[in-house]
């Protein structure tokens, strides 16, 4: 009864200061372009901030590519690399591609599946989050991670790996790798919209691990595996990075770009349709 009594006396506990009421004009639901843009930016900013704070995500994905590159390209095989520049460049491309796979696949795949289960997507839909801001934020977060990974990789390659990379090559590789993270986002998104939170991590690993090892990313493959390596997006991305560094590569750049773009657009379209229908 105490609650009911104090309800009749609004001053029983601190009553909020009077505040300005809502906008009652017919334009109340209309958002200026500037504010809309700020909403998209806020979503991306907080998504990135939060993923940086998950140390189990940010430290491995940001540090591992350059650390592994230094381990293999400098500590273990430094002498071989100095005698044969192409080996050094090969290792650089391998870890650069490896670096941008993780944030996209895990940042998208596992987090979307979990957040779907936790009701966050439903809340975002009920709230007036601008259309697509949730996915766009994750995309920008991944691209920011890819950018940082490339900066650390290039710094390591120039300072410790003794790779003679020109500024133009560095810029090209960075742009290719940042855009190259998109098909991995799409794979993660596809899994994240279909699997439960726990299953999503398993499914992502089920694709991540073979893609890393049997696409020819790190070492030459036996012939029977080499024939099927073009099914992996990593293969196409690595060929583009080879090209950007002036190395010889298989196939045509346009075909590699088309495959990566196809994977991105196709899987994203399937996922977005499912999100819209089921949530």
């Amino acid at each position: 009864m105490m609650n009911a009594r104090s309800l009749e006396n609004p001053n029983a506990f601190e009553s909020p200061r009077p505040f300005e009421p809502f906008d009652d004009s017919p334009l109340a639901g209309v958002m200026s372009t500037g504010r809309l843009l700020r909403a998209y930016l806020a979503e991306a900013r907080f998504e990135s901030l939060r993923m940086f704070r998950v140390l189990g995500f940010s430290i491995p994905f940001l540090v591992l590519p350059a650390a592994l590159y230094l381990l293999f390209g400098v500590v273990l095989f430094g002498d071989a690399v100095r005698n044969d520049l192409s080996t050094g460049k090969f290792l650089f491309t391998a870890f650069a591609v490896f670096g941008v796979m993780g944030p996209g696949m895990f940042g998208f795949g596992a987090t979307i599946a979990t957040e779907r289960e936790q009701g966050l997507l439903t809340l975002k839909r009920a709230l007036p989050a601008p259309p697509g801001s949730y996915l766009l934020a994750k995309l920008l977060m991944t691209m920011l991670f890819a950018f940082i990974i490339m900066v650390t990789m290039i710094t390591a390659a120039l300072l410790l790996g003794h790779l003679p990379l020109t500024f133009a090559q560095c810029a090209r590789v960075t742009v290719i790798d940042i855009l190259g993270s998109l098909p991995f986002c799409a794979i993660g998104l596809f899994i994240g919209t279909r699997a439960s939170g726990k299953a999503a991590i398993a499914f992502v690993n089920l694709i991540y691990v073979p893609m890393m090892h049997v696409s020819g990313l790190f070492y030459p493959l036996p012939k029977f595996l080499r024939t099927i390596s073009p099914v992996w997006p990593t293969y196409h991305l690595q060929q583009l990075v080879f090209g950007a560094l002036g190395m010889t590569f298989y196939g045509k750049s346009a075909v590699h770009v088309a495959v990566l773009a196809g994977v991105t657009v196709g899987l994203t379209a399937l996922s977005v349709r499912r999100l819209a229908r089921i949530g």
Binding site: E14, D23, G29
Partner: protein, 296 residues
């Protein structure tokens, strides 16, 4: 309150597989009212709210928010939402969560204003994951009001709150209503609905079984409760006409009846020493139980 309709379901049918969640439901939420949607579990309360928010689409009939489809973002920019089951990023700080949601609205409170309003300013720098369950609900409530909404949907808002936090929430709700906002409250906590609501809808099995002010709903139930101190025996009174049940708690008798006047007259005639006579109408909780049992 005015007759301006802000949210509306008309003739809405919604099935989930073989289960009929809503069976031709009509509901209207008007400007400036606190509208409570009550019902036992599975009555269709959440489905009704989800339809008004555009989270579900009706199989037939229509849902409207400010006269528009709730699937559009524009009407939803005038709405604040607090859901029952949601897990927010534990790594973000309270202020960051509020700032993010405020950014979705055209003319929101600043995060500082919103947090001051709901009395959570001291939590601003705390990571959300480190808060108690009650503090998390307070943050979610702040997120619901930070956009300066015309219409607020609250699903079991005070679950897990201590008395003080609940009082602050209710005071904020009262201020919102004074400012002309409307609130749609779904709750199991009937005292909350009884104290705050202008109007109440009672749902059962996807149908509207009662709609009106708290007093009107209570009046639907004719039963009244008489209590008194008397030497009369309980089983003797239980045999009188119009008496439905009698319970004794030490000296006091509690009698439930459909005709309190007749029973009181007879009580006073039978026991001249009778004391502490009280007659009360069914509360919302009792009315609710009776209405939903009748409909079952």
């Amino acid at each position: 309150m005015s007759n301006e309709i802000w949210a509306e379901l008309s003739g809405v049918q919604k099935r989930f597989g073989k289960i009929v969640a809503l069976d031709g439901l009509d509901l209207q939420v008007r400007r400036g009212e606190l509208f409570s949607v009550l019902g036992p579990n599975g009555a269709g309360k959440s489905t009704a709210v989800s339809l008004m928010l555009g989270l579900l689409r009706p199989d037939s009939g229509a849902a409207r928010l400010f006269g528009k489809s709730p699937l559009l973002v524009e009407p939803r920019r005038q709405v604040g939402v607090m859901m029952q089951e949601v897990t927010l990023a534990p790594e973000l700080r309270v202020r960051e969560h509020v700032a993010l949601v405020a950014s979705y609205y055209p003319r929101p409170f600043t995060p500082e204003e919103a947090m001051a309003l709901t009395n959570i300013s001291p939590l601003a720098a705390r990571p959300y994951g480190k808060l108690s369950a009650g503090q998390k609900r307070q943050v979610q409530f702040t997120m619901a009001v930070c956009g300066r909404p015309k219409l607020l949907f609250l699903d079991e808002p005070s679950v897990g709150l201590d008395v003080r936090a609940r009082e602050t929430m209710w005071a904020t709700l009262r201020q919102l209503i004074r400012n002309g906002s409307s609130i749609v409250l779904t709750t199991h906590y009937l005292e909350e609905a009884e104290s705050l609501s202008n109007r109440v809808a009672v749902l059962n099995k996807g149908r509207l079984i009662a709609l009106g002010s708290v007093n009107e709903i209570r009046a639907l139930v004719v039963r009244k409760y008489i209590s008194c101190s008397t030497a009369l025996a309980a089983d003797q009174i239980a045999a009188w006409p119009h008496v439905e049940s009698v319970t004794r708690d030490q000296q006091r008798l509690e009698i439930s009846t459909s005709n309190s006047e007749a029973v009181v007259r007879r009580l006073l005639a039978a026991d001249s020493n009778l004391q502490e006579l009280e007659v009360r109408r069914a509360g919302l909780a009792e009315a609710f139980t009776e209405l939903t049992q009748e409909a079952a």
